[in-house]
Subunit: 172 residues, 2 copies
């Protein structure tokens, strides 16, 4: 651990103070001591904040109307926030679709570049997996770009297990 | 075409007569002339019929309570029926999860062995894709067992496009 630590906490409502402790992680040795990082499963995310986060990692812009619909119809949405004093900043996001019974598929995992390489992506994924497992979802899947295959492998994801292939449909 | 043809029709309610024509396909040259195959998107499927269908292709049994929940929470459920006179038999099934906006993932594609190799799986998939596209879903995905990768490839699905890997999480 560094000379300070930021506690991971969870919150279902952005207005209520986080209550459940998730674990402690060093975010950055230069971060201010009153800084903490916490997760939320609240879907009421400012879509412009989310767009800014996705812009920061170079993703193509998507219609906010559709982003809103996708968030509403995801099984689980996990956002990650930095809190400094009374101000909060969206620094990470991910969501999963599911049939609520067997399968979940994780989409749109993003960590702001300023917050990458600090273990936050790993923490976000572990939290997401824990939540899906607690809902008795046995099959957790995702589609990984080549440069993040090792990241997910380290989290326990196997590519093409037993020869199973991820496939994408393309219009004729 | 064979000496007779069975019309693919669609139905949203199993009690109402199918109304929309989907196209004509030869199911089997030995089938009775009063036999037709049709699709339905009704979720009110007898779970024991579905279990029997899945048993026929050798799938592991799953708790019906969870199967029911998965059907309820799928974005789209398509079943395929053989009708002979007034009796109907479930001969195919598939479903898709989705965020209702960008992504859909197809699960549980099954055709009864007696009805395989007649183009019915292809017809079922084409119908499913058409429905997802009509709902403005741009990213249609699935996880294919090795022996059906070519089947899906012929339908326009590409494995690992641009190196994207399908991954499955395994508990430690």
């Amino acid at each position: 651990m560094g000379f300070w630590k930021s506690l991971f906490t969870t919150s279902n409502t952005m207005t209520a103070p986080p209550s459940q402790k998730e674990g402690g992680v060093t975010v950055s040795p230069t971060a201010a001591p009153d800084t903490r990082i916490f997760f939320s499963t609240d879907r009421d995310i400012d879509l412009y904040d989310l767009e800014e986060l996705c812009d920061a990692v170079g993703w193509s812009r998507r219609p906010l109307r559709k982003v809103k619909k996708a968030i509403q119809h995801s099984f689980l949405v996990v956002s990650m926030w930095e809190q400094r004093g009374s101000s909060r900043r969206l620094v990470g996001f991910s969501r999963a679709t599911s049939d609520h019974a067997f399968n979940a598929t994780i989409w749109d995992v993003v960590i702001h570049p300023d917050f990458q390489s600090k273990g936050l992506g790993k923490a976000l994924m572990k939290y997401l997996i824990k939540r899906l497992r607690s809902d008795d979802i046995s099959n957790i899947t995702l589609f990984a770009d080549p440069h993040v295959v090792d990241f997910y492998r380290n989290l326990g994801f196997a590519p093409d297990p037993e020869g199973i292939k991820g496939m994408f449909w393309y219009p004729d």
